[in-house]
């Protein structure tokens, strides 16, 4: 290596007459600018195709009455937004919003507490740790449609295992997906089962990242296991916690697949109609692209506000013991 370098130093740099270019106040190597731009072209092309153009168009569409069934297409200003929020069918919108909020809140509450509990237990010295971790994680990687099919059977009123267990215990059958009272909860139960492992993994990684010295210091000061968890581990988990909450919340607002597979028409009395399912219905069942676009943008604003609030809270309370 060294002799190479020495030899190179002696040779005149005839091969590399690097042409420089000055752009935006700094000097760049011309060939790197060229190659770099070239390599970014495919990436940029797809980014424009699937992100930039659609984002501009969805805003434009939300101000039109575009209907794929009647072919109507003219600007209507804010009429779509006004209609969604105050029109004849505004109850559908608020219903979907309400269901989404309930779905998100219940799912988040269970996901966070159960996942944290499991992660803390897995963080101790239990046997078969890898098998256990893989078991909790398995539902995450399986295609949602395939697992939804299994759960449709679980929820079958007559021959579903859930009702058979209830009957065996001497309890009355439940109508699960077929009653407007229980359908949303049935979907939530599935979603918790499906997504739990993801949060377990993140919490577990966070716990394993906590330096032993903090725990040792706590032990020496006479902290009990309970105190160690509440006073040391949990505060140190805050960055992971805020990430998990954000991901789970965004995921909850975007949920579509399991709802669409298990209750294709929005469930009994539209009881499982969530926001994305409502957007899907507006756009692809009713052909109302303008209204659906407006609804999608409202959903985006909600998700955006959640993210911002969460980021503020997450950032302000980070603990640093160093």
């Amino acid at each position: 290596m060294e002799s190479n370098a020495a030899a190179r130093a002696q040779k005149p740099p005839k091969l590399h007459k690097v042409r420089k270019i000055r752009m935006f106040g700094s000097v760049y190597n011309l060939s790197e600018v060229g190659v770099g731009t070239l390599l970014l072209i495919p990436s940029a092309a797809f980014l424009i195709f699937i992100f930039v153009v659609p984002v501009i168009q969805v805003i434009q569409l939300s101000f039109t009455n575009y209907n794929t069934i009647t072919g109507a297409m003219r600007g209507v200003g804010f009429a779509n937004y006004v209609y969604l929020l105050t029109g004849d069918t505004s109850e559908y919108f608020y219903q979907a919003l309400g269901h989404t909020v309930v779905y998100a809140a219940v799912r988040l509450a269970f996901d966070i507490t159960i996942a944290l509990l499991i992660a803390v237990m897995l963080d101790s010295n239990v046997p078969l740790k890898k098998f256990l971790r893989a078991s909790y994680f398995a539902p995450v990687v399986v295609p949602i449609v395939a697992s939804s099919l299994i759960w449709i059977w679980f929820y079958d009123v007559n021959i579903g295992p859930f009702n058979q267990i209830l009957n065996w215990l001497g309890l009355p059958s439940c109508k699960w997906l077929l009653s407007e009272k229980t359908s949303l909860m049935s979907i939530i139960l599935f979603s918790i089962w499906k997504g739990l492992g993801y949060n377990v993994l993140l919490f577990l990684a966070g716990l394993q990242n906590i330096s032993d010295s903090y725990i040792e210091a706590g032990r020496i000061d006479g902290a009990s296991g309970w105190q160690l968890f509440w006073k040391i581990k949990l505060p140190l988990l805050r960055p992971i916690m805020s990430f998990v909450i954000m991901m789970d919340l965004i995921g909850a607002f975007k949920v579509f697949t399991e709802v669409n597979v298990m209750t294709p028409d929005g469930g009994p009395l539209r009881s499982t109609m969530l926001l994305v399912n409502y957007i899907y219905e507006l756009a692809f069942t009713n052909g109302r692209m303008g209204r659906a676009s407006a609804c999608a943008l409202i959903l985006f604003v909600i998700i955006f506000i959640c993210t911002m609030i969460q980021r503020k809270i997450g950032a302000s309370k980070t603990v640093d013991y160093d």
Binding site: L40, F51, P54, V58, V145, L149, I159, L299
Partner: protein, 278 residues
């Protein structure tokens, strides 16, 4: 100290039993699915429910193939998933190299822009994208399924963070020795980030394999349905013949299961990585 240690070990067995019961209930649906795929209709409807099939039968699998073009769905899923993964990976690798190992104006802005694109949920862009793709006449085509799903933001940013860790001195030396960019990328940068690349590939493939919403809206003909869409319609088409639904689900899950068994560690790492990075 000794006492404390003993106490810890004993408590772990209690935790193990709790965790084990939890793990069994997580796995129960899959066990149930697998066993039921081999049951006869009579077994499925029997009360009290039967754990094991009274007769093991392959009939359900045959029924699936007879009733729906399952092989076609399967082939569609394999083809679109592989194409999607290949495109995403090639584009991401090139972009990540450009963003980390070359110097040109606008790099930071581009990365930031990509990151911001990840905050916009797919449902927002879905409607205009659908209108554009169908105006191009790509409904019910493979291109129509694949191209709009080439979302490279996550993989590009993930790979960027790994490519950035490859020492620049090494690359400069190779460049001085007359190595072209392609050689530097394929012989130095990529081998140095093997783990990250395989993780990203796996992630992209699994994502493509389970992709639901886009294939659902862009396909109307059965010939172009991917597996998830085929399974969705099987519920109504088979009029809730559960043993058939389970056989079909089992076949759809099988590739994922194989990947999962062999690459669980990588999958776990990729997820914890994304969590830690943020």
């Amino acid at each position: 100290m000794q006492l404390g240690h003993k106490k810890l070990v004993r408590r772990n067995w209690v935790l193990f039993i709790i965790l084990f019961i939890g793990a069994l209930s997580m796995l129960f649906p899959f066990v149930w699915m697998t066993l039921s795929a081999f049951k006869t209709k009579a077994d499925v409807y029997s009360y009290p429910p039967q754990w094991l099939p009274s007769v093991w039968t392959w009939q359900n699998f045959k029924d699936v193939f007879d009733m729906i073009p399952f092989v076609r769905y399967y082939a569609n899923s394999i083809y679109t998933s592989i194409m999607q993964t290949a495109l995403v990976m090639v584009i991401s690798i090139l972009a990540a190299y450009a963003l980390t190992k070359l110097r040109f104006p606008g790099q930071r802005i581009y990365s930031a822009f990509m990151l911001s694109s990840m905050f916009v949920p797919a449902v927002v862009t879905m409607i205009p994208l659908y209108l554009v793709v169908s105006s191009m006449g790509l409904n019910d085509t493979y291109a129509g399924i694949i191209l709009p799903q080439i979302n490279t933001a996550f993989t590009t940013l993930l790979l960027s963070s790994f490519f950035a860790a490859v020492p620049n001195d090494l690359i400069d030396a190779a460049r001085l020795d007359g190595c072209g960019h392609m050689r530097v990328l394929t012989k130095m940068v990529m081998p140095n980030s093997k783990g990250a690349i395989s993780t990203a590939t796996l992630f992209t493939f699994l994502g493509a394999w389970k992709s639901y919403t886009w294939p659902l809206i862009i396909t109307t003909k059965t010939e172009y349905r991917t597996l998830p869409i085929g399974l969705k319609y099987l519920v109504t088409e088979s009029s809730s013949e559960y043993q058939m639904m389970m056989a079909a689900s089992l076949m759809a899950i099988l590739p994922v299961l194989i990947v999962f068994i062999f690459a669980e560690k990588q999958l776990v790492r990729s997820i914890t990585l994304t969590g830690m990075k943020s």
